[in-house]
Symmetry: C2
Subunit: 345 residues, 2 copies
Amino acid sequence: MTSHNRQWLLRSRPKGLLQMNNLELVNGNHDVRPLKSGEIRIRNLLFQCAPTMRNWMSEPSNSLYRTIDLGTPVQALAACRVVESRNSRYPVGSRIIISSCWSEYDIIDVSELSPKFIPEGISAIESVGKLGINSLTAYFGITRIGQPRPGETLVVSGAAGSTGSVAAQIGRLKGCRVIGIAGGKNKCDWLMNECGLDGAIDYHTEDVNSALKDHCPNGIDIFYDNVGGQILQAAVDNMAKFGRIILCGQIAAYNQDGPAPAFSNMMRLIYGSIHMQGFLYSDYLDDIPKALNDLTSWMQSGDIITRLDVRSGFENLPSIFNALFDGSNQGSLLAVIDDDAHALA
Amino acid sequence: MTSHNRQWLLRSRPKGLLQMNNLELVNGNHDVRPLKSGEIRIRNLLFQCAPTMRNWMSEPSNSLYRTIDLGTPVQALAACRVVESRNSRYPVGSRIIISSCWSEYDIIDVSELSPKFIPEGISAIESVGKLGINSLTAYFGITRIGQPRPGETLVVSGAAGSTGSVAAQIGRLKGCRVIGIAGGKNKCDWLMNECGLDGAIDYHTEDVNSALKDHCPNGIDIFYDNVGGQILQAAVDNMAKFGRIILCGQIAAYNQDGPAPAFSNMMRLIYGSIHMQGFLYSDYLDDIPKALNDLTSWMQSGDIITRLDVRSGFENLPSIFNALFDGSNQGSLLAVIDDDAHALA
């Protein structure tokens, strides 16, 4: 049993970007106690930084997502090592991916959970960064909701992000013409030159609505949206008849107060017979083995490339998280807090 | 060949409700000429009054619906009698349902169209009023998009309308708990006492959001929306996980300038894995025979009741049409312009 355990507690709800004074870094031995039957003690190795965590920090809403209670640690998906166990399925030394929190150690009752093991031969960093929630979300959104057909036009917003870039490349593999929307020339160049997209729109310098008209003269068949706001509006205004809008995220709204706004032009959805659908990767738990097989195969063959943005330091977690929103992040953002995250077993 | 033909021409685009000065009633012999091969001349017997026609009168938009050019007659679905024919499939005397305009007579090239015949034994009024577009739209929306399962909660807005009331009753037949939203005690009483709904919300006197919370403590599984605006917002805020939103109409917005606004709370669509879909009955042309069979059977057995709101007079068309928006209309609104609309063959 460890005698120390640092945590980042949520002390107040951020207005706009998460600020240091919304959090408190507590030293000492919080949440350290003997295990009960069925529980394991984990040492967190790294946290995935996902934009939607910003929603969990907001006032409770009716948007169906979780709310982090004030005075408790920030919740996050973690890769971790089991360091003490009273559950025979998860012996000491095993590595798992599980919903934990910004805490060095955590106690979890895994009696009714089935956290995923990290297989031997792959580091926690690779496991979460390449085959984690972001890639699974891209996979299920495109294949299950988008249902792309060869020759269709797919547009992806947040296309240089860890979810968007995988979504765009799966669409390309399925035979779509793929247009990515991203912020800045570097990201657009990467999409064109490395990811093999057919077009890229830089929303920093281009009018997205007119650029979409140029790139998609017959309209958008599938729109994979990570962003919302004005970019969703521009896409709605350019959807083709029988188009599909895959609602993955609304990052443009996460640092605003209040619920994420929608678009106008509902009549285009009606006369266009547009199918719009929200989803979570966890809607498709039974299909994860197949998804991981497909993704692994595409990544090993080089058909899909990924970028990892690995940063480190438990004390840096707030600023690492904010890199999701300042445009500096390129690729799957991971906050490593223990060098064991590099181990292959 | 007739020598006279009155028409209602659109002269300017309405702001808000359609006004008499937006139109011109022209007498004389407009659009009267000898037929070409393949054409038929029809005498219009009645027009269906559909809220979406108000959209067609607006400035051209990117909402994918048609626009009525200024100086041309108002377009409308009509039941009519063929009075002259140069197309052997449609001999003189036959009755058809076709897209025509507010004109006593019209010339239509049916070479590449397949307008529906009105069968013997049924009047044009019954054919359009009971088995017309409104009922078909309700049928396809509920069965194809809603896909109701017994025990699910269905909410219908504009529930006392000709589409909404059929949608609500089909949901009831499929085993759903059905809650209708309508304006006024009379309409709500009709929904409860005649249509057999499980609950009714009067948006004139009740707060729709809190009423939905009361009626749907486990959330809304299926929302059939004819209205949009604040009622759509209230429904989005109360959708259950994996809910379906059927976008049929947005009548709350049809008399406003600009595109129909949407709702906020996009995150509820994402975390709720909500499926929202627009559609037109014409997306399902191949399935119309089965739909008409089902609807006929349900109406003959009394499982589905319908109301017709039959008004008359070519010169009254504008005011009849506006009854769609003033709350006075109850049931399928038909504007009869010729007594032949009552004939059974």
